[in-house]
């Protein structure tokens, strides 16, 4: 067989494989959207769920998903940022940093159900936080931290060494160089990383089943006192998220329209994550443009 035919076969195979991946993705997306989009309505997106009757919505779950996402990000972003700055800007390559990096890698490959069970034993039971948004947010932090740290570290890596030298040569201290030159320059790419990881957190179910719980008590959206049990802001209430809701109605849902609710919820979830991804690209590009060219 001559090299030309070989080449053709190789390219053909690669095209085939790539096409297959795209096809599977499109089929999945198509199925979810085709079966889910017809269920969507303002009522569906805002009404609370019903346990036995038809006509329930996912309003509370949707809100819980966002609230939990924001809390988890508020906790994990500062830690990830600090860790990434330390690892990339300060730490020298020695056994300590190697150990930290290995630990981060192992943590990132941990199955999320294990993170969930750990969260259950530690936050829910040991620290007596109960099934609560707070327990869920901590569990999600464990789940999110490794990837976020890695992505911020990668963002810092894209900033050229000459920028650091430029800062130092102006008589800026190392800390000033990092906070005033490197971080602003890395903001677009850090932001992209944050939004992409937000998408992952938003769709996470296994880590939340045993921590944030599987029930969504009705919320009173007029009560913004975080100490009241029905307040949307209360971090100590159990909070089923959209992803957990999908899992739950598929395994034990007894409402007559369980299938429709599940399809609708899936569509909402997929749309939200698509939105995160597009937002990440758009914002990242725009910020980069604004910061770098006229």
């Amino acid at each position: 067989m001559n090299s030309k035919t070989q080449n053709k076969i190789a390219i053909g195979t690669l095209y085939g494989v790539a096409g297959l991946v795209v096809l599977i993705l499109l089929a999945l997306l198509g199925y979810i959207l085709v079966s889910g989009l017809p269920q969507l309505s303002w009522h569906f997106l805002t009404a609370p769920a019903k346990a036995f009757l038809k006509g329930g919505g996912v309003g509370v779950q949707l809100y819980n998903s966002f609230y939990l996402l924001i809390l988890a990000m508020l906790i994990s972003f500062p830690i990830a940022l600090g860790a990434a700055i330390y690892l990339y800007e300060y730490a020298r390559d020695n056994w300590v940093t190697t150990t930290i990096r290995t630990a981060i890698e192992i943590l990132s490959s941990l199955p999320s159900v294990v993170v969930g069970l750990f969260g259950f034993l530690f936050f829910v039971v040991k620290l007596r936080l109960g099934f609560s948004i707070l327990s869920g947010a901590f569990a999600l932090t464990f789940f999110n931290l490794p990837l976020l740290t890695r992505s911020i570290e990668d963002s810092l890596r894209t900033i050229d060494l000459s920028q650091r030298e430029g800062g130092l040569a102006l008589g800026l201290s190392r800390w000033e160089t990092i906070t005033r030159v490197i971080l602003p320059a890395a903001v677009p790419s850090i932001l992209t990383g944050v939004i992409l990881s937000a998408g992952r957190v938003f769709g996470e179910a296994a880590a939340l089943i045993y921590t944030a719980g599987q029930s969504a008590p009705a919320l009173d959206f007029t009560d913004w006192n975080p100490f009241n049990i029905s307040s949307p802001l209360n971090p100590m209430r159990p909070a089923e998220t959209l992803a957990v809701h999908i899992w739950k109605i598929n395994s034990e849902g007894i409402m007559p329209d369980a299938k429709a609710i599940s399809s609708g919820s899936s569509a909402v979830l997929v749309l939200a994550i698509l939105l995160f991804n597009f937002a990440a690209r758009y914002l990242g590009k725009r910020l980069y443009k604004r910061l770098t060219s006229a």
């Binding site: 030298e165 430029g166 130092l168 040569a169 800026l172 201290s173 000033e176 320059a185 910061l291 770098t292």
Partner: protein, 252 residues
Amino acid sequence: MSEEILTTQDLHLYYGEKEALKGINLNFTDKGITALIGPSGCGKSTYLRTLNRMNDLIPNVTITGTIKFKGQNLYAPSADTVQIRKEIGMVFQQPNPFPFSIYDNVIYGLRIAGEKDKEKLDAVVEKSLRQAAVWDEVKDHLHESALALSGGQQQRVCIARVLAVSPEIILLDEPTSALDPVSSSQIEATLLNLRHDYTIIIVTHNLQQASRIADRTAFFMNGELIEVDQTKNIFMNPAQKQTEDYISGRFG
């Protein structure tokens, strides 16, 4: 002869085990341009970077000997690298403006030092950019990104950025090697304008450049300082055979 502002005595530098500078003794008088020339890998850039402690960033570097700036040892334990680099600024081979506006680039050092007075900052921006001979080209778009400028303009903005923190000494590490001939000659003109007010030390691969702008020239080879003299003497009448061979292009 004006006073000596920067003195180097028996300076050795090791990258791990490898000795890159083998006992350099070299002094710089206040004001004027000194060019450091020599073949690639001769240690001239390494030497330049010891003068404001930029080699600190590289792991496994050991430095012995003394470098004194106005009588103060730069490598004394009590030496403040941040302060040193404010007084001994540096311009690099690749123009490295920050990804911000031209205005912000120039005042970055001052703003971080806490200067808030808008009028004063405006004045410094104009003065520095004028000194760097780039004011006329950028004055109408000071608030646009510095990355949109040409390489030569970027490099002059980088020079202005260093001037804005009013250093005494400016180190330049092959500042024109990444630039086209026209931009290079603009940088040279800029440096000639600055030579009465600053002590300028420039590493260059370009012998013509050294002969055009430098008052004094130092020739490095294999980590040693072979010869330093008035530029005219180095090029017309070098004392060392090695210098003559290099100048006449017999190696390097």
